[in-house]
Symmetry: none
Subunit: 203 residues, 4 copies
DNA sequence: CATGAATGAGACTTCATTCAT
DNA sequence: TATGAATGAAGTCTCATTCAT
């Protein structure tokens, strides 16, 4: 019933990102999104089950694209610290390059209610697995300490990076987010490193 | 116009915590809170400007109590690492001891819209200052590295702890949150430490 | 939650009868009914669960009043033919005296969908029982033939009277419905009578 | 513009009967009927002016077929009571033999709104004329009483038979409708008969 | 003849807030 | 102080119909 592909599908998702970023989650009516996408209200419902489905799809598409790209890039790197550096860099660069998306992901979508947060959990889990895989590799390879659980390590890494991103989005000052990549790397690399030593940020 | 003290004032705030924890943010109507508090709907408006004011007050009161208690306890400790350990411990213990409050602070209140998040920012800033003060003291005292900014250090510390707390609240498994205190301390202490070395968790 | 008594409750039901009679079932919005009743839209929902509930209540109240009045009047009469005459008379007189109600009961409410028709079934059953009781009494007393089942007798009586009423409501000519009472009586009395004989219409 | 013949025309009408019988009037969308008929949505509009026209045509076709067949059969019979018996028999047998059609005619189509009921009136009038013709013949021939108007007689006959049919369709028990033919005949024959006497059901 | 993607009008219901008592 | 009945604004989604192909 709901076509999940095609130009209009993408248009609507991009329109939703823009509208939500500019108006906030609770002030983004379907009619606004439709107008921004250049389609009729009803057309939204040819591509999505309901409004919630637009938001969930938005998250799945954006998050899915990022996770699979990140996975590919990380796989191309051997050194655990370089992997870590790459992950932090990609995460923050992605957000810095699309402020609309950053607003939506870091702020607006978190105002959604339980059912959306639930559906969002799945693509987030893929990202969690990606991070845990990276940590696990570092531990097996000997670079990362083994005295902390994968889950905890992932929570700390994700929590730290996520908070930095959120602060950046909320800040009225227009500072560079990517400038934070190297210092964050230095903190987190030391935190994970077996002996407190780690190579410089490699990129 | 709005009395900000008295039994009823506290009753209403506690009722709000319970109702929001049990019903979720978007399903916590004023009438539900009033019923839980044992007062009439209209009475709420004798103590609070509007519904938003109830939520903001809730956050201010709970966060204010915690921050001032934490400040007192940290002031009584000299060693920067012990301060860090104490902070992590208090933060997580407070949430573990009041699951209702944890649900509201970590999940539900984050679904509120811009105006509430804005008002919430202020008491959060007090907590930010507390953390930054702690880091600053450690840097001046020589225990904490000086090559990262206060703000970044605070974001990383808060982000990491906050994410651990959120994961705990959302988890269906009933694991102990306080059991995480020591491992988190080990990670964050090493992250901040000048040379990668740090004392064991002291409590 | 929904108060089912009071002046406003009656006002809303009477308003619904008027609005539905004048606008037809599918063109009777809640806002129209509220305006006619002199209350705000939301007030409807203090007295009724939803729009459907207004319609169902309308039917229950009107039908209930009629059935219990009819029961009382029939109980006061002994002769089976006189009972039959009274029933036909009350049924048609009630509708003739309130053309709005007649329109709603005979035409508009029958356009409602399954769930309403379902809820409406119960008060209709009370009326069915009333008719069957009357027939049964006549059979036991010897005036009415015993070679037809109660249910069939009731269907024929109700169907005949109902169709006469419906035709009257739909007719553009303004003829008298009560003038039909006596002829209908003559037909149905003969139909039921043991030997084809029956007393004249007694009222 | 609208072709009113051809296989597709019939297909669509039969599809409409099936879809409406199975889904109810208010849940029978044009797209459902089109799918059931094996044509595209737009094709419906090559054969019918609009959705309403489908329903009206359905009624006209089905009712027209029945009325003309009934007319032919009645014309072949001389005796007024036999004509009456034949009419009751054909009416109920037709419905019993096509439960889908019975559902649509007795229940679903009555939920339609004024404009459809209006258009439906015309083929119904043909049936009314048929019944009135039969009564008139019986009166002239001396078998049927002359002290009731044609219109009233028709209303009573149709109302009684129609109610019996409706009750049968709505009933969850699977009883035989045709088994009712003979008893109904006995009631209505006596009701119409000049002297209360009438021949037995002849078929 | 046939398709089916796109259109866009229209209404029920919730719930924060007020104010007469 | 306290009550709670009344208010009324605001948004999602369905589906009959069209028209370019």
């Amino acid at each position: 019933m709901a076509k999940r592909t095609g130009d209009k599908y993408r248009n609507i998702i991009e329109a939703a990102v823009k509208v939500i970023a500019e108006n906030g989650y609770h002030n983004s009516q379907v009619s606004k999104i439709a107008k921004e996408a250049g389609v009729a209200d009803g057309t939204i419902y040819l591509y999505f089950r309901n409004k919630e489905d637009v938001l969930i799809s938005l998250f799945k598409v954006k998050m899915g694209e990022f996770t699979s790209l990140a996975q590919k890039e990380l796989d191309a790197i051997q050194n655990p610290f370089a992997k870590l550096a790459k992950l932090i860099g990609m995460h923050l660069t992605r957000l810095e390059n699309d402020r609309h998306l950053a607003l939506v992901l870091q702020i607006q979508l978190r105002q959604s209610d339980a059912s959306i947060r639930n559906a969002i959990a799945e693509p987030l889990k893929d990202y969690s697995r990606l991070i845990e895989g990276m940590v696990s590799h570092g531990q097996n390879e000997g670079s990362f300490r083994k005295d902390i659980g994968l889950k905890l390590a992932r929570q700390i890494l994700f929590g730290a990076i996520d908070e930095v991103a959120t602060s950046w989005v909320l800040s009225s000052k227009n500072y560079s987010l990517s400038a934070q990549i190297e210092p964050i790397y230095r903190v987190l690399a030391k935190a994970l490193s077996t002996d407190g030593r780690h190579p410089d940020y490699p990129f």
